[in-house]
């Protein structure tokens, strides 16, 4: 079987070349995908609950739990019993599609195939269909307007800009030299480099060191790091200036002692935030906050009167305890999901709460507190609290080595404020919004081996589907399985589908332009006044001669 760059199936490649045949086929394909999305949404109960008749198999008559549709006629059928492939053979029809995944099966190849134009069409059709269900009604009936998906079509300006430019791969791997107990730094930096949102930001030159006015700027250092990683040099790079800048930003931690990777990570986030133009203390939209900032809702419930007080707190990452207070924790519960369940379960505060409601007798009430995720960021960073400080003495801390199982894909829906407000819904898997709206994919893991004083940090990171292991300057190809078995300390997940606010110009840009306009107006006024004054002088001179 010859492999074709656009399609792994030569028969489909031929179809793609005949425009009228391919158009009909692709239209049918798109309508199947559309149908699949709409049916899935109506069945999920977020649209009015009504019976939706599912298609049945053209061969055996059973209602299809998983629909395969012929792309040449109206036949739909079962896959597992061979009904749909039998239909293809009998009728000389070449292609059928699995409605759930959009993958096409070729009768002549007798195999499923991959084709670039199909993949693109699938995603676009799916996203456009799902968008109708995307508006999430939060507590009040406020629906946040979102930017509608538009497939990117190159316009003249884009074509001109791309002319003569060289394409390079969007991925690069380079080891980082250990500068003396700096494995913590290297692991964290690799996780930044493999962060899709940060990568896009820095590769798009959004923070240009030549135009930056900050001294000892961490954001500039990040930009320089990306430049080094994406340079043609594949020998390990020593992040000397990054280290020096980090010492400047946190003088207490300067020196060659081993640091906690999580602490370094948080300090670096803060440093980049402070050196981003236009960053603010409230509702900041710098690259760090745009990427990592979420919101936690804290609900305190007075057990006596049931009154609930809610506060919203910002968060940049999530630190998870290994076990709840008291119990030893059984082994089947050492999963990320279990940690998140513990994180969002109500916790008794003891009888010290002062209720603010009028119906209650106010002080010393029993109360419970519960945390839920109110707003989910594009990138979620989880830290497992492995370092237990029993006393104030840092040296007396103990490391918890219990392995934690974490998934390659995580659905955050059951831990959101929305779902937990109605716990019955959460347990039944009925969530609002399009499928996958709450899904995250793992892209990096930081490992720690050894104990508190003489441990070693390494990390895993992936580009698209391929995983690599990073141990300072040693970079090796790895697999998902190896990564998931590693002793994780921190895990990074990226949201599968990003939501975009309706495009608005940042306030500082508007302010700058208004200011510039005002300057221009003032200039004009001054000119006018000068002219008027000159004219008056000339007139006076003339009058004097009379």
């Amino acid at each position: 079987m010859t492999s074709n760059p656009t399609s792994s199936c030569p028969h489909f490649a031929i179809v793609l070349e005949e425009s009228d045949v391919s158009q009909k086929l692709l239209e049918k394909y798109a309508s199947v995908v559309n149908w699949s999305v709409n049916r899935y949404q109506s069945v999920r109960g977020c649209v009015k609950r009504r019976k939706v008749s599912a298609p049945s198999c053209g061969t055996c008559g059973l209602t299809l739990a998983r629909t395969f549709a012929c792309l040449h006629c109206v036949y739909t059928g079962c896959w597992l019993d061979g009904h749909v492939s039998h239909h293809l053979k009998e009728n000389d029809h070449d292609f059928c599609v699995d409605a759930t995944t959009g993958v096409i099966f070729c009768n002549q190849c007798n195999d499923f195939m991959f084709a670039h134009p199909l993949n693109k069409l699938f995603l676009e059709t799916k996203i456009l269909a799902e968008e109708k269900y995307g508006s999430l009604k939060i507590n009040s009936t406020k629906i946040l307007p979102k930017e509608v998906f538009k497939p990117w079509v190159l316009n003249e300006k884009d074509v001109g800009a791309l002319k003569g430019s060289q394409t390079i791969p969007c991925q690069a791997r380079r080891g980082l030299l250990n500068l003396g107990q700096t494995c913590f730094l290297n692991a964290v930096l690799q996780c930044f480099v493999h962060n899709p949102l940060l990568r896009s930001y820095y590769l798009a030159d959004k923070h240009n060191p030549k135009q930056c006015k900050f001294e000892q700027c961490t954001s500039c250092e990040m930009d320089k790091l990306f430049t080094e990683i994406y340079s043609e040099d594949s020998t390990p790079h020593g992040p000397v200036s990054f280290l020096a800048t980090s010492w400047h930003a946190s003088p207490d931690l300067a020196g060659y002692a081993q640091q906690d990777a999580h602490e370094f990570f948080m300090n670096t986030l803060n440093a980049i935030h402070l050196t981003s133009r236009g960053s603010t203390n409230v509702h900041c939209n710098c690259i760090i906050h745009s990427t990592f900032a979420g919101q936690l809702q804290s609900d305190v419930k007075c057990e006596r009167c049931g009154n609930v007080t809610s506060t919203v707190d910002p968060m940049l990452d999530v630190s998870l305890d290994f076990r709840g207070k008291g119990n030893e924790g059984n082994s089947s519960e050492n999963t990320l999901a279990a940690c998140l369940r513990r994180f969002t379960q109500p916790e008794k505060l003891g009888a010290k709460y002062t209720c603010k409601s009028e119906k209650c007798s106010k002080s010393s009430q029993e109360a419970s507190k519960r945390l839920t995720f109110r707003k989910l960021p594009p990138v979620l960073c989880f830290q497992f609290k492995r370092f237990e400080h029993k006393t104030a003495d840092k040296n007396a801390a103990r490391k918890i080595d219990t392995p934690i199982r974490f998934p390659a894909s995580l659905c955050m829906a059951p831990y959101t404020t929305f779902a937990l407000e109605d716990p019955e819904k959460a347990g039944h898997g009925i969530f609002p919004g399009p499928a996958g709206m709450f899904d995250y994919d793992l892209f990096a893991v930081i490992n720690h081996e050894g104990n508190m004083d003489n441990g070693h940090y390494t990390n895993f990171a992936r580009f698209q589907d391929e995983w690599c292991r990073f141990d300072d300057d040693k970079v090796t190809s790895s697999t998902l399985g190896t990564c998931l078995d590693s002793p994780a300390y921190m895990c990074f997940y990226v949201k599968r589908y990003l939501d975009y606010k309706v495009e608005t110009r940042p306030t500082y840009v508007i302010a700058r332009e208004t200011e510039a306009l005002r300057e221009k107006e003032k200039e004009k006024e001054n000119e006018k006044e000068k002219e008027a004054a000159r004219m008056k002088e000339v007139e006076d001179a003339l009058l004097a001669t009379v």
Partner: protein, 97 residues
């Protein structure tokens, strides 16, 4: 209650239609998928299939499926299996109320 094989078949077809049309099938499948994901079963399968596919020349879905299916079947966590069967049974019982 259906007794003859033909009656059982017709009955099964009717139940299948009901469970799919009502959305219960998709709901149970979602719960099954999250439990299997949490147990690490889904990731194990993904890893195995991928690494096997990497070395398979020529790559064929059916060969991969035939190799991976037995492993997938035997590695199904019993607790998950029991829980899902219980949910299905509960739904079926409800149909007779």
């Amino acid at each position: 209650m259906p007794t003859s094989p033909l009656e059982v078949d017709a009955f099964y077809t009717q139940l299948q239609q009901r469970i799919v049309d009502s959305g219960e099938w998709d709901r149970i499948r979602f719960v099954l998928a999250s439990k299997l994901n949490e147990a690490g079963w889904s990731d194990d399968l993904r890893h195995r299939s991928k690494e096997r596919a990497r070395e398979m020349k020529p790559l064929s879905f059916q060969t991969l499926y035939d190799e991976v299916f037995p492993v997938a079947h035997t590695s199904l966590p019993l607790a998950v299996k029991r829980e899902i069967l219980a949910q299905i049974r509960h739904w079926v019982d409800k149909q007779f109320l």
